[in-house]
Symmetry: C2
Subunit: 482 residues, 2 copies
């Protein structure tokens, strides 16, 4: 038997990408007594103000990984996205006719279409940068390396994974010339390279390209033909635009080829309003975010209900225009290769219409931390080899996670199609259009009611079975050889 | 208080349409001590050989309505659609790549795509005409009236529903002239007209037109742009065409713009093979079934896998071409109006791609029989009036049944779109195409695992609540009047 990795030493993991998924995974692996280092290309957390929300289910997954993660979320000012009122403290998702103007004396009157009860604290939202800051405090400072942009990763059949970074401190223009091999530091020990790599490097993942080959079509996420414009509106203005009840609770205004979603943030002082608009053209720009014009927004909603036009009129003149990309057209055929894998958006970048992209990434983390807990309890005990354990773990991870996470990518596209049905503008088609809500409910429940305990069970049993099969085969081969 | 109906007498129900749903409902209502008569436009059961299958869940619904219905099903020669083998007695649904020819020595080799376990006797199939004959034996002969084609039905605010039939014994061409008012017979009593009418008169329902108005777009089911060709093939030929395993078990061959489904029937002596082909054109013919040509079938599958071409080559030269229609584009806005309602295909005609159209109709029957059980236990006891009880029951029926049954119509279209994905012909898109199966599984489970006990509970509680509210309101109004 060839021991290609240092069997006596603890596992050493490199995580590429220090976003929500990368940091949660780091915290989870540290708790399982695995040595981890994180490599983040940015110099720090530069984003300001972008919001992120988690389902109650995802928060329970965090709790199962490490209670400290939930503490970090709450300490970064997370609030339930809908406050409800005294009589009913639950969170709801609401869909409302954003297009048709009812012929009523009350100009704020809109047709309520559907409502789903997401339960107590069904969604909790916070600012992304604040959550990242709280998370990073849970990780020993020396394990997080900023300004490290991955150039290549190689996984030889024997020996450790080799990572090459472009030092982010050099100017991007010169990056190609100044490539250096960064010596990966694991706490106090100084290894040149880790036992394995997990790519949590987002929609434009480099690790995905390493894993699938740079020419694979899944390396280029596709344009969903939707653009988004986001605005923060002071609550007083929002109440004037929408009426008090709508302003203070989450609402999703649907209509032909567009929708507008808003919910209260910052302790009810603002509403966060995001408009999504269908776009028949291709996206030519290299960047996914460009400068947008208010007139594009107002013209897209020109014939809509007064409330929606009111909200849109409160946008600033200059605003950011986000192109929504995802991996729908070319999903990754696998999330693993040898001792490399991808998690979160790097594996299954989705459009945001279920508000659950990061939640599914948290589920990935829960699966991986349980696998590495199992490995760190069993490797070093013959006949298990590290290398075989890692490869097997990643096979199981791929089996357990790929179906559900790629379902989310499809489902997010599907529900946006529902929101943008042209039928909303044609009264004779309203009944047809409204039949979408049963499916929308089922899809939401599939996300919210995920049985993560069963997933953990499936993960651990899957790993043990595969390892037993491999070891049996190994010892049988050994017998034949002797 | 105005007693518009004869409060002391048992309820009298006219069921228009003596198909599967009409007969099951009749048996269910008779068991609840309701007086029923059935009006069927055909002179008898003339269909020969067409098959029908029920899920295990629908059979449990039948059992809940009346155990005799299940006995009738089994006595009409129903068999589990897949026999499985000794080691695994379960039924499975299987999807298989019907298009691509694998470069293998075995010409029968095809790419297996997905399999769902439908459980023990997950599906039971029989000949439709045989099941109808077994069902009708459970109903007193004098209650079933053949050759009665409904012309109009009227529901005055007060008094009984008025039904007008065209006597089916007169030539159809003269029908318009020879319209006669048929005196409706309820057992030995001779009423002119029933307390209420339930339309189980199928996709071209006349009762639906009465209920919604003949001009309503839901009165004209739409072409799904799929045509179907069905063939019975002797098992020996089928084994030669497909190989033994595939011939003896249900398989669904998917490919670009078409699919072929087959399963063993008649005690494994034949396979029933149905091809569904996409059709971009409109359907111009008045009839939904016309004469088809084998060459249309062979040309649609010309580039497909050898096994599929083998099956297609076994079709006769002349065959029936079925246009698949449904109510997807214009769903009924309601299933009830006053003391008239619709059930089964009359309410929610679906394409057949879930194999569950009749099953959902059986669920309708279960809901209605429970409602009329409740009514017949409580009407005649003041303050409940018959008329109010019936109207309320139909409101509850509409609330309980419309969402799920219209979901099925959508879902059946959706799964056929999955089967016909053009991506099946493009290897670079296979991963994308295969992401459909998670959704397909969820949709199948939603049909198979229907919680009909909760539906019954919801139905009865819904009725009691509405009646209590109406009676309270009534007595309050009475107080104000006095």
């Amino acid at each position: 038997m060839q021991a290609t990795l240092e069997e006596e030493e603890p596992l050493t993991v490199a995580i590429v990408g220090g976003g929500i998924v990368g940091l949660i995974l780091t915290i989870g692996l540290l708790k399982q007594n695995v040595k981890v280092a994180v490599y983040e290309q940015a110099q720090g957390f530069r984003e300001i103000g972008a919001g992120i929300a988690f389902t109650a289910n995802a928060i329970r997954c965090m709790e199962s990984i490490d209670q400290d993660i939930v503490t970090a979320l709450r300490s970064s000012g997370s609030v339930a996205t809908s406050d409800g009122n005294g009589a009913d403290p639950n969170d709801y998702l609401r869909w409302i006719d954003g297009y048709n103007q009812l012929n009523q004396d009350d100009p704020h009157r809109q047709r309520m279409l559907y409502k789903i009860n997401a339960g107590l604290r069904g969604f909790e939202g916070c600012r992304r940068d604040q959550f990242l800051e709280s998370l990073v405090k849970l990780i020993p400072r020396e394990l997080v390396h900023y300004g490290k942009r991955l150039e290549t990763a190689e996984e030889p059949t024997e020996g450790r994974v080799q990572l090459k970074f472009v030092d982010g401190s050099v100017a991007e223009a010169d990056a190609g010339i100044l490539t250096t091999l960064v010596r990966v530091q694991f706490g106090s020990s100084a290894n040149l390279s880790p036992d394995l790599v997990i790519g949590c490097d987002g929609i434009k993942s480099r690790i995905r390209a390493v894993l699938l080959g740079a020419d694979h079509p899944a390396c280029n996420p596709g344009y969903t033909h939707k653009v988004a414009y986001r605005t923060l509106i002071p609550m007083g203005d929002a109440v004037a635009a929408l009426g008090q009840c709508k302003a203070q609770n989450q609402h999703n205004h649907v209509g032909p080829y567009a929708h507008l979603i808003h919910y209260p943030v910052a302790g009810n002082k603002f509403i966060n309003a995001t408009a999504f608009i269908s776009d028949l053209c291709d996206w030519k720009d290299e960047k996914m975010v460009t400068e947008g014009k208010k007139e594009d927004l107002t013209s897209a909603f020109a014939n809509w209900n007064l409330c929606v036009r009111n909200v849109v009129s409160l946008s600033p003149e200059k605003l950011e225009k986000w192109a929504v990309f995802d991996m729908w057209e070319y999903p990754a055929p696998r999330y693993n290769k040898g001792r490399i894998c991808v998690a979160g958006d790097a594996a299954h970048a989705s459009s945001p219409h279920h508000g659950a992209g990061a939640c599914i990434g948290v589920e990935d983390c829960l699966c991986l931390t349980n696998l590495f807990g199992e490995i760190s309890r069993t490797v070093g005990q013959p006949p298990t080899q590290k290398s075989q354990g890692i490869r097997t773990a990643f096979e199981v991870y791929n089996d357990v996670r790929r179906t559900r996470s790629q379902w989310l990518v499809n489902s997010s596209r599907r529900v946006c199609d529902f929101y943008h049905q042209p039928e909303w503008a044609d009264e004779s088609k309203w009944i047809k259009a409204e039949t979408c809500f049963e499916e929308l409910k089922d899809r939401s429940y599939k996300i919210w009611n995920f049985d993560y305990t069963s997933m953990i069970e499936e993960t651990i049993q899957g790993y043990r079975k595969k390892m037993a099969a491999k070891n049996n085969l190994g010892s049988q081969l050994g017998e034949f050889e002797s």
